[in-house]
């Protein structure tokens, strides 16, 4: 545990020792800011009783943030260490492969959540300004953040996996973006295309991250969705561990 904590602290520290961390946080702030502007206009134009988080989710900025930030957050985790050689220094200390994988994952997830944190503050400020407490129910906001965290853990584990595959952080970022956008498109309104066989629809429906997140933004934490994110996250972490281990078979 001591080693794991040291690793996580190092991972988190690395974001703030370089410009990357600040740039990502600034970009997330900018995008969520646009989303909120959009949202404020909508509330003003036509009063409604849809929770504000769901309105925010509908602005499409949410997925822009997730899809763009996750490759940048995770790209360096393994690739940069391999390129600079510190990976060899790390792997010749008595740390376990799982410890390294989980620490890299935890570090990136921690940073991702940190980047989302200002959103909570902004929502609170909006509630004070508009005075419409009904739209800002804490339960709904908590559910939204649970969704953000679960979506984040899937994207972070995918990003770590992509980063473990290569020595170049640019390639890692591209791969992780492709995985992310691929998985996202897979479940994006599959019924609209009309090209898919009937049996594929329910499968894609189940994979649909947009549907999952919609529920979270409405304030619903559905067990099925949680299981989906936890299991896919574990799948990618397992794959990452496998990649880390291949060094031993070469």
């Amino acid at each position: 545990m001591r080693v794991f904590m040291a690793l996580v602290r190092r991972e988190l520290g690395a974001y703030f020792n370089s410009l990357t961390g600040y740039v990502v946080i600034a970009a997330v702030l900018l995008l969520t800011g646009f989303g909120l502007l959009d949202l404020v206009e909508r509330i003003r134009d036509q009063p409604n009783d849809v929770p504000v988080t769901e309105l925010f989710y509908q602005t499409a900025y949410f997925w822009l943030v997730v899809l763009l930030s996750s490759p940048v957050i995770t790209m360096r985790s393994f690739a940069a260490e391999k390129a600079s050689g510190t990976y060899e220094a790390l792997m010749t200390t008595p740390v376990g492969d799982w410890q390294v994988v989980l620490a890299k994952f935890a570090g990136s997830l921690g940073f991702y959540l940190l980047a989302w944190l200002p959103l909570a503050g902004t929502l609170f400020a909006l509630r004070q300004i508009t005075g419409e407490a009904a739209l800002f129910e804490p339960r709904v906001i908590a559910a939204t953040f649970t969704g953000i965290a679960l979506v984040g853990s899937l994207f972070m584990s995918m990003g770590c996996f992509a980063s473990a595959l290569t020595r170049s952080d640019i390639i890692a970022a591209m791969l992780s973006f492709l995985f992310g956008i691929g998985l996202w498109m897979l479940g994006y309104r599959p019924d609209a295309s009309g090209l898919l066989p009937m049996w594929a629809l329910p499968v894609l429906e189940h994979l649909s991250m947009t549907r999952h997140m919609e529920d979270f933004a409405r304030g619903l934490v559905v067990g099925r969705h949680v299981v989906f994110y936890v299991s896919t996250t574990w799948l990618f972490l397992f794959l990452t561990h496998r990649v880390v281990q291949t060094r031993r078979w070469k």
């Binding site: 040291a6 690395a14 050689g85 220094a89 792997m91 010749t92 200390t93 008595p94 031993r248």
Partner: protein, 350 residues
């Protein structure tokens, strides 16, 4: 050509007092105390289309300082990576302090302070912060890691820069940070891959001095392609070329063994013909060469037969003739010559 049998020369570190260990001594503890620091047997590492290490065997005893010498691409780094259990071998075995590098990697890593090639460091961290982080990774507790970091900062002359960012330090300082990292958990064995590469002469001197200091308390294995480094710091040398060990011996013995054909050179004030006459027919002499120098001095080169030392003979003959002599020297092979000869495959191995 292969000379692996010489590679051993195992020295057992002082035998432990078994009575003191009493019944508590486990089998592995015994093994660990009596076994040599490094035992490598028939180690091979193949990459697709290339054999990096080709069946090497050697043993390094506790307390030795051994230089791993070879041109770039000889397989030095690969061997060191296997020893630090970063890479698995294709075949053969390697043990560090009695532990198998493949089956018991954690035990091995705990006992090794390894500085990889090019000394990779987290350039964005501060010196003390980095060393503390590394100490924690190596399993030291909070208090212990602080103590040890203070100790290695002092030992490696880093106290003044301890709060500076590593990326802003000179290469010499970075090298010391790498060494401090290798030392921080008090390992039994220190492995340094090219510790002085890319440094200026001043920095090289200070890093070498540090390595020498380490040699008093640790077993050290360092790789280099700089021969003077081995001559200065190591008691024993393993010469590696194309994945094989070409020679392994004490540094001095190797020099002596391969310097036997050393010719004797003298500067003598004498007629050239007479000089040639005197030395040509001696049974100990293979050939004689005379070249004119300034004034009436001649430069005489005597090549001995069977590597005999003919210095006294040359001096005696010149004195007997009543000539004046201003220099007498026997050319010695430096490790550099030996290395060049060995790697060219021209050596007259016994």
């Amino acid at each position: 050509m292969r000379d692996e049998s010489r590679a051993s020369g195992v020295e057992e570190g002082g035998n432990p007092d078994w009575d003191k260990l009493g019944g508590l001594a486990t089998v592995s503890a015994r093994m660990q105390l009596t076994s040599p620091m490094i035992e490598v047997h028939d180690l091979t590492k193949r990459y697709p289309g290339r054999t990096a290490v080709d069946g090497i065997s050697f043993t390094i005893g506790r307390g030795e300082v051994v230089g791993f010498l070879g041109p770039n691409g000889a397989g030095k780094s690969t061997t060191l990576r296997i020893l630090s259990s970063f890479l698995p071998a294709t075949s053969g075995t390697a043990r560090v302090a009695g532990f198998d590098v493949f089956r018991e990697p954690d035990e091995v890593r705990r006992r090794i302070g390894y500085m990889p090639e090019n000394n990779p460091l987290h350039l964005d961290m501060r010196v003390r912060e980095y060393l503390k982080f590394r100490a924690r990774l190596k399993g030291l507790g909070w208090r212990r890691s602080r103590e040890r970091v203070d100790a290695v900062l002092e030992q490696c002359g880093l106290v003044d820069v301890s709060s500076r960012i590593i990326g802003q330090l000179s290469k010499g300082y970075r090298q010391r940070v790498g060494l401090a990292d290798a030392l921080v958990h008090e390992p039994d064995l220190i492995i340094l891959d090219e510790p002085t590469i890319g440094l200026d002469p001043h920095q090289i001197r200070s890093v070498r001095a540090l390595v020498k200091e380490l040699a008093q308390r640790h077993t050290v294995l360092l790789s280099t392609h700089i021969l003077s480094e081995v001559e200065m710091t190591c008691s024993r040398v393993l010469i590696l070329h194309r994945g094989r060990i070409l020679a392994a011996d004490r540094t001095q013995d190797l020099e002596r063994r391969l310097s036997l054909d050393g010719q004797v050179i003298a500067e003598v004030a004498a007629p050239a013909a007479a000089l040639r006459e005197v030395f040509r027919d001696l049974p100990e002499v293979e050939s004689v060469e005379v070249q004119p120098m300034d004034g009436n001095y001649q430069r005489l080169s005597v090549q001995p037969r069977n590597g005999a030392d003919v210095r006294e003979l040359v001096y005696g003959e010149i004195r007997a003739q009543g000539w004046t002599m201003r220099e007498l020297t026997r050319s010695r092979h430096t490790l550099e010559d030996i290395f060049i000869h060995l790697t060219r495959g021209k050596v007259r191995e016994d």
